[in-house]
Symmetry: C2
Subunit: 558 residues, 2 copies
């Protein structure tokens, strides 16, 4: 058996033994040894994507859904560079990816060979670990080397993306009829611990909380934030939780509804915190960040990943430990008056906002509320960057127990969102999946839709279609009319009915409030993948948001 | 005036003064200062693209067409990583690009800020020059610093892509009503010389040629290779020129038709060279490379870019100088018998191949010949990677005087091809433009089609649609039937009629030989952009090629 083929069979076998279950691959010649070994391995599910960019973001979604390292495989050349945006997202969201790039051997590098580029450290600082073992060669302990490489890649990927560059010499495929076998026996078992809170970390936070009269918990994106709900409930503090924290739900005890409306109203001036505990990612809401920054309260940033997610430099304590043990070790608090002020204000704001919905023209708020009300109990939602993630933060109500929320908040790109959402659908195929995306994002990763039919995925895609980049209407550039439409709003001018037809999706257009909930209900219940396209005007969005905040403010003053 | 706005206006003004005429930008917030300055500058044409990947490959096409540095601008985050594949192509093809990535200022880096990633040296070794000037600050000589930065970027870009990372602090847009003015007066004039051949280089090559009885010229991709035609004609040697060398034309004097057929036939065994002069990129044809490698003749690699494009390690002399002066300085050769053997064999092979076309089912050969025969005198052709570039090399006849041929042969990716072709169309809008692409490439960069309507571009797109990666049918993996269709051929299963409708293109399907030429003729003559989709079977392609080579071999034996 050729050494390249033995390597591929052994390396892939060890990856599977370590726990890799899924691989996203794209057609290529140099990558053929690994591609064939993956496709033939009984324990690995292969997802083929023609567009490597879509494939890599699909892998990000798969890994976010399952929490397990997903394999990406590309051939040599620009195909490897196509992974870069997804690797960056995985890096900033701590998503486990094992990126394998096939390469030419050293003698064909920097020599004008076809599809030969410099793939060494191609993703720069975006990967946790890079290794290039050189082309496989015969050696007495080769199978142990190869299995060790797989075990190491798997272990390093627990914290984020890793990159293994694999140069291969020809022949690149086995002799026909020959099936290479994996050599050696399973390699290292790798286990990683969790950083537990020290007694001193617990004591410091507990004392600060005891002294505080108006302590607040702020929860950003966390893949498994719901595991913190019981501890937070016991603690009894108001929690400002965005949907992707998995904590905006009744189980958290004091998750405040419509907090953004409270912060935008005068009410918030009398309700500044004197202590903040921050969990998960940086808050999405700029209003929340600005308000916290102005409050200047002592802030405990719970930071198990050592990521220092604190762009406003408000953290007074950076606490590097797993949040669950820390929160469970804290004594329960009695700040029920303070907590109830928040909860009651949240309920009043929510009611006032809901009342505006019956008279304002369609905007993101209607879409978020309709999706939330029609979503099945056990659904997962992928929320796109830019406007959707902000609209969900502003308008999503308490989630149902099993619902889960994802976004690409690592780097907050508008690229690869269709694929990441569909990767989630593939990763938890037993859960109904909905994608909430803007029209520009849908277009940006339209190629990602190809995976639906190819891999038999079910998902409902809800498009907030305001014919361009609606977020810019909320920013100062909107006042520069000579350049605004051309270089910021960038109206797309595509008919999504054609897109749906191209990819065999049911097309469900919505252009008024009455049609919205039925369309979403039908889509969620349908057996065939459906794209609900909700058309609305960017001005209606700006006005609709303003009306919401004014109504909430008035209700809070009353 | 805010310092950020002054910087943007001044920096852009100097880029325009240096000679930048076109900018490809995508919507974003952090990049707004530069985007607004570009859009408002009277000398710069802005091309907006929503998908940065398409935009960057469009820039590659623009720069290949014009030979002048084209500006790319992205906002911070994954948007910047989206440029990576196009930067790699530009790097390997020496295409002038000035890549500007807006960034967060240092205080927002590595701190969990939105869309803040590590953009330092993001493209690794793929750029000729990287610089990060830090956020603009007030200084006595600020305008000179800023203009010098633009002049330097422009000068460095002459050899390939450069990357300037531009961190900006808020505010990111000017006060409404205020138009920032460029400061200072125009900066440095930058000029670059050309590396002329030394007398010793000329003498060495001239003596070798004088001694050689069977000298051969091999010409790979060269943007402006046609400038070498008079010198080669005077030299009087057989020239194996691929279309993208711009030398497969009558003016070259002895450009051999159908050389691949000669090399595949027994004829080539009696016609090995005893000296080879290589110009331009690595030959596309594997048959040619293998034959040259086996011939082991002394080989002069003319290498003005110091690129050492010699994966087979056959070069005996690497000659770093501009080829034109070198060739012009050589004495004319009298190798007319040797030359005429090649030319005559080429004509016989061409006739034999043409005779097969009337009876074989449609394959790439028919498409190439039909396009060549119907293409206007002054057209430019963008030829996609994988099968199209090989088919054009195999079957394209002598080009007409003004026709020009381009590909992405730097890194030979199948990504970004639609956009690169349309960038060519934008760069030389007075020339009719045709794109010859495979179906997977068309899909991979389908988003690139958006630019046609948005920027009013005219081009004919000819798709070789064999429902998958036809190149793999020619490779050993075709014999592994258990995995072949799933992970190599990857049939696309999309209806291109829907794609045409989505992007307002005339859809012209072809499925038999009779329909091919009329469809291409109509498309080339049409005022509206047309997509000609030629459907054929991958097996017919493999068989059709075999029949061609056999017919040519028989004709040469006769």
């Amino acid at each position: 058996m050729d050494v390249t083929q033995s390597f591929a069979a052994t390396f892939v076998d060890e990856l599977a033994a370590q726990g890799v279950e899924s691989a996203c691959i794209s057609p290529g010649s140099r990558s053929a040894p690994i591609a064939i070994a993956l496709q033939r391995h009984p324990k690995i599910r292969v997802f083929v994507h023609i567009d490597e960019r879509s494939g890599s973001f699909f892998g990000v979604g798969l890994a976010k859904a399952t929490g397990k390292p997903v394999l990406l495989l590309s051939t040599s050349g620009t195909a490897a560079a196509e992974f870069h945006p997804a690797v960056v997202e995985a890096s900033h969201s701590g998503t486990p990816l094992i990126v394998l790039t096939a390469d030419r051997p050293p003698e064909l590098r920097d020599a004008g060979a076809n599809q030969a580029i410099d793939q060494q450290r191609l993703y720069g600082t975006a990967v946790r670990w890079f290794f290039d073992p050189g082309p496989p060669v015969e050696a007495a302990n080769a199978s142990r080397q190869w299995r060790r490489l797989a075990a190491r890649a798997y272990a390093e990927a627990a914290r984020g993306p890793v990159h293994v560059n694999l140069p291969f010499r020809e022949p690149l495929v086995p002799t026909p009829g020959e099936v290479p076998t994996a050599l050696g026996t399973q390699g290292q078992t790798v286990s990683a611990g969790r950083t537990l809170a020290t007694p001193s970390q617990v004591t410091t936070l507990a004392s600060a909380l005891q002294r505080a009269q108006r302590p607040l918990v702020v929860a950003g994106e966390m893949r498994d934030g719901d595991r913190l709900a019981p501890a937070l409930n016991r603690l009894g503090l108001p929690v400002l939780a965005e949907p992707s924290s998995q904590l905006r739900r009744a189980e958290t005890g004091a998750a405040v509804e419509s907090y953004e409306a409270l912060l935008r109203a005068g009410w918030s001036l009398q309700h500044g915190p004197d202590l903040v505990v921050r969990l998960g990612g940086t808050p999405t809401s700029k209003v929340l960040s600005a308000w916290l920054s102005a409050a200047s309260a002592p802030t405990f940033l719970i930071d198990p990943e050592h990521a220092w997610r604190d762009p406003d430099q408000v953290a007074s304590h950076v606490v590097s430990c797993d949040p669950q043990g820390l929160l469970e070790a804290l004594p329960p608090m009695d700040r029920s008056a303070w907590r109830d002020e928040w909860l009651s204000a949240g309920r009043r704001a929510t009611a006032a906002i809901a009342a505006t919905f019956v008279s304002t023209p369609l905007h993101e708020g209607h879409i978020v509320r309709a999706l939330a009300s029609r979503l099945p109990e056990n659904a997962q939602v992928f929320i796109g960057s830019s406007m959707p993630i902000r609209a969900a933060d502003s308008f999503w109500p308490h989630a149902k127990t099993q619902q889960r929320f994802f976004g690409n908040r690592g780097a907050s790109g508008i690229d690869g969102l269709v694929s990441t959402g569909l990767g989630l659908a593939a990763g938890r195929s037993n859960m109904p999946t909905a994608l909430l995306l803007g029209d520009l994002s849908l277009y940006h990763d339209m190629n990602g839709l190809w995976a639906m039919r190819r891999h038999g995925l079910r998902a409902t895609i809800v498009v907030c279609d305001n014919n361009g980049g609606g977020v810019f209407n909320f920013l100062p550039q909107a006042q520069h009319q000579d350049v605004f439409e051309e270089i910021f709003a960038t109206p797309l001018g595509l008919d999504f009915a054609q897109v749906a037809r191209l990819y065999d999706l049911v097309y469900s257009p919505v252009s008024d409030r009455a049609g919205l909930e039925p369309a979403i209900a039908d889509a969620v219940a349908a057996q065939t993948p459906t794209m609900v396209v909700v058309k609305f005007k960017r001005e209606d969005s700006v006005n609709g948001h303003r009306v919401c905040w004014e109504a909430a403010a008035a209700a809070l003053r009353a």
